[in-house]
Structure formats: C-alpha cells, structure tokens
Symmetry: C2
Subunit: 228 residues, 2 copies
DNA sequence: TAAAATTAGTTAATAGTGTAAACATTTTAA
DNA sequence: TTAAAATGTTTACACTATTAACTAATTTTA
C-alpha cells in the first residue's frame, strides 16, 4: 500500500530533522548538537521534535545508523568497477573509506568519535548497522580468497574464540582467517584515518600530502597480504 | 625559593580539581564533565573554580597536557628493562600503549576522542605535549636503527615534504624513514586500541581474548620491520 | 603592630541545555 | 459532521557555563 499523504510529510519532516542535525554536527561538533538549535533552524519549537524522536538519544541513534549505511554504500560503490586486479580493488576500498571519512566528518565522528554526553548506543540497533560496513570490507578480501591468492594465517585457539562471534554476526561462511585479515586491515586503515582526522598527523589538517602517505601505507599493506 | 604556604595549598587545590575531573570523566564520559559536579564533590560552589582555571576549556587543556605526559611516562617506563632484544622492546612499547589506554580511559578519550562540546585545543600548548609521547615511540625504533637492524623505506618527495615538519617538532635528528615507521606503527597500534576501546571489536569490551589478537598483530608488525 | 593589598570563597543573575505536562490546532477517518 | 489522531504550542523544571558584585580570610607592606 502506498504511503498516505500524512505519512509522506512525516517522513519528510524526519529527514529534515536529521539533515539539520548533520549540518549542526559538522559545523559545531557532534557533542554540540542541540534540539533547540535544530528546531529553531526549522522554524519550530524544541518540544515538537519529540513527536518524531522519543529523545535526543533516539535521534542520535538514528543518525548513527544512517551513517553506517552511508559508509557501507560508499564502500560497496568503490567495488563497482571493471577493474579485475585485486590489489587495485583493495586499494579502492581503503581509499573509499578514507574519502568517505573526509567528506562525512559529522557522520564519521558520530560512529568513531567519543560518544555524545551521556549517550549510550543501543548495541542491538547500532551493532547490525556497523556489521554492514565491515561486511563490505570482507567482501573484497573474500574475492581474493576465492581466487586462492590470499595469505591465510594460522589462528591460535584464543584468536579463534575471539573471532567466532563475528561469523554469526556477519553471516560470513568463509574461513575465520579472512575475518581476521579484514579486522586488522580495518584497524590499520582506521588508525591512519583517525589520526589524520583528529589532526594528530599534521598541524595543517587539509594537507594534500597525507593522501600519498596513506596510499603508500595501504600499498605495503596489500603487498603483504597477497600471495603470488 | 621554596613555595609559600599559600602556593602550596593552591597547587593542592588544582590537583584536587583535576583529579575530581578525571573521576567524573571516567565515570560519565569526557563530554559530561561539569564544573558544578566537580565543585559539588569538592564541597565548593562552581564559580570558585574560576579562581584556578579561566574556563572549563582551560581545565580541559590542562587535563589533556597531563594525559600526554602520563602516556609518555608509561611508554618510557616500558623501556626501563634489562631486555636487549629489539622485538621484545618494541612489543613492550606497544603493549604499554594499549595498557595505558585501557587503564586510563578518561585520559585516552580526552586525547584521542572527539573533542568536548565547542572545545578547541590550543595546538600551541597541546602540540608539544603530544610530541613528547611520539618521541618515546621513536626512541625505541631509533635504537633498532642505531644497531643497523631497521628496514628503511625509500621516501617519495611528497612523503618527505609531509614528514619534514616532524623533524623540527620532535627534535629528532635521525633519518626521516624512522619517523615514517614510527608514525605508521603508531597508526596501526592506535587503530587497534581505538577500535577496542570504542567497542567496535567485540560486544564484550572486557574480553581477555582481544589481548592475544593485539599481540599477534604487533608481532607480525615487528617481523616486517626488522632486517635479518 | 596596623593598614593595605591580595586571594579565595560566596550569592545572585544571565543565557543556554533536554525534557515533561498541559493545552490548542490541524488533519484524517467514521 | 463528528470523533479521533497527529502535530504543534506555551509553560515549567532541573540542569549547564559563566559573569558580576560582595565578603571574609590571609598575606604583605609601611
């Protein structure tokens, strides 16, 4: 059944609230998000927002879920290419991760930054959303594995025990070692991007040179992963 | 000249304020820090704190500088050992980084988390403090370099341009390549620790198994860095 | 030692914040 | 047309940082 008029304008209002919130976050930082500010910019009063979100935390949770979806989409889009070479595809994935972070700072800080005052993410909701992004990173490595070109590690019992919960969570049926590689790759990429975005790599955050630094690192990361 | 009585109790009060702040941060998160809360716990009123810090931001800055000093000290302490083998010393450094992060969550989130609402770190003050920590990471690698056991990379002109500012900032006179290795190592360690602390690696943040995951990663990181 | 100056605290007030309750208005459905 | 549901508003409360004005204690100086 098609949505009624009322449902449509309600959905539009929700989108407007979230969009306004994202603008405020990218302008003043995630923690400075203010319901009153959002409402004012929309020509409403703050309590009206409670018709759409039960609390500020609920709004933040919705923003986080959206952010994960957006990141997953960006990663997926990076693989929609004719390119066959695995190393280039991995590189594209890593660069897409960094590019998304640089162009979606509000969303990035929502996901990976220190949470907002007194906000505690409901893992039941944000967990699955986060998994979607990681799955995209795994997909790329899985393709390499399918071609028999991935250097698999031997896993200690302790490692296996830690990785096993991910199997179910991600719904990935390949070897645990692929998950392990995806996680460590993610950590390295994330480490670089995180330091860059928080200004720990340079006083001039917008330095172009960091891009080449990043690419070189991903390059050597890829080299060590591929057999041939 | 020895400090007067007044200077002494003033210093003690400042310490008490900072200590109370750290407790609040580790309890409720960095952004939830409240001057009123601190004052209440100390049996004072909030405005009295302004005799000791010009603003909440100034207090935060002081806490950040303290945190960097504490991290640098922990890293330095990890090297005060009879152990001669380089890989074990590097491992000790990395583990000390992680251990410090796990045991000083308040300080860690102050340094590496998303900044507090509307707080902007004065780089002139926090920058040098941050450098102190990085220097400790470099020191370990420099020892390897001095023994001629470090695999040095060739640096592209773009990379050199990015790394050069660090030379002056850190006061390190060895090859740029050592700085590059220290930075990328730091990024990888930081990536792992950051994901772990923010609960991205597991639903159960206190899982012991993550430790073995971390150690295995640092191991292979070290392997690739040492020649022979 | 007495007076002056500095320091450390207070209370009161301003301008923000999220959120709950009560009420009014508009839109939809019977 | 009437009842119900949805969407607002205003008001109020308990928080937050910060400033100004004032008081009391301490230290310094004459």
């Amino acid at each position: 059944m098609s949505p009624t008029r009322r449902e449509r304008v309600r959905a539009e209002t929700i989108d407007e609230i979230k969009e306004t919130a994202r603008m405020q976050i990218s302008k003043n930082g995630a923690a400075a998000l203010s319901l009153r500010g959002i409402a004012a910019e929309m020509g409403m009063t703050a309590p009206a927002l409670y018709r759409y979100f039960d609390s500020r935390d609920d709004l933040v949770t919705a923003l986080i879920v959206d952010a994960y979806k957006s990141l997953a989409a960006a990663l997926a889009a990076s693989q929609e290419t004719e390119e066959e070479s695995h190393d280039k595809r991995i590189m594209a994935s890593a660069c897409a991760y960094r590019a998304w972070a640089l162009t979606h700072r509000a969303e990035y800080s929502l996901i990976f930054g220190t949470p907002i005052p007194n906000y505690h993410a409901p893992v039941g909701i944000t967990g699955p959303a986060a998994a979607q992004s990681l799955i995209e990173l795994i997909r790329v490595l899985d393709a390499v594995y399918q071609d028999g070109l991935l250097t698999l590690n031997e896993l200690s019992p302790a490692l296996i025990k830690m990785l096993e919960p991910w199997v179910e969570k991600l719904g990935y049926t390949g070897p645990l070692s692929v998950i392990q590689l995806a996680l460590t790759n993610w950590a390295k990429i994330h480490g670089l991007v995180s330091l860059e975005l928080n200004g720990h790599l340079s006083d001039v955050p917008e330095e172009v040179n960091i891009g080449s630094f990043f690419e070189k690192e991903i390059c050597s990361l890829v080299e060590r992963m591929l057999t041939d």
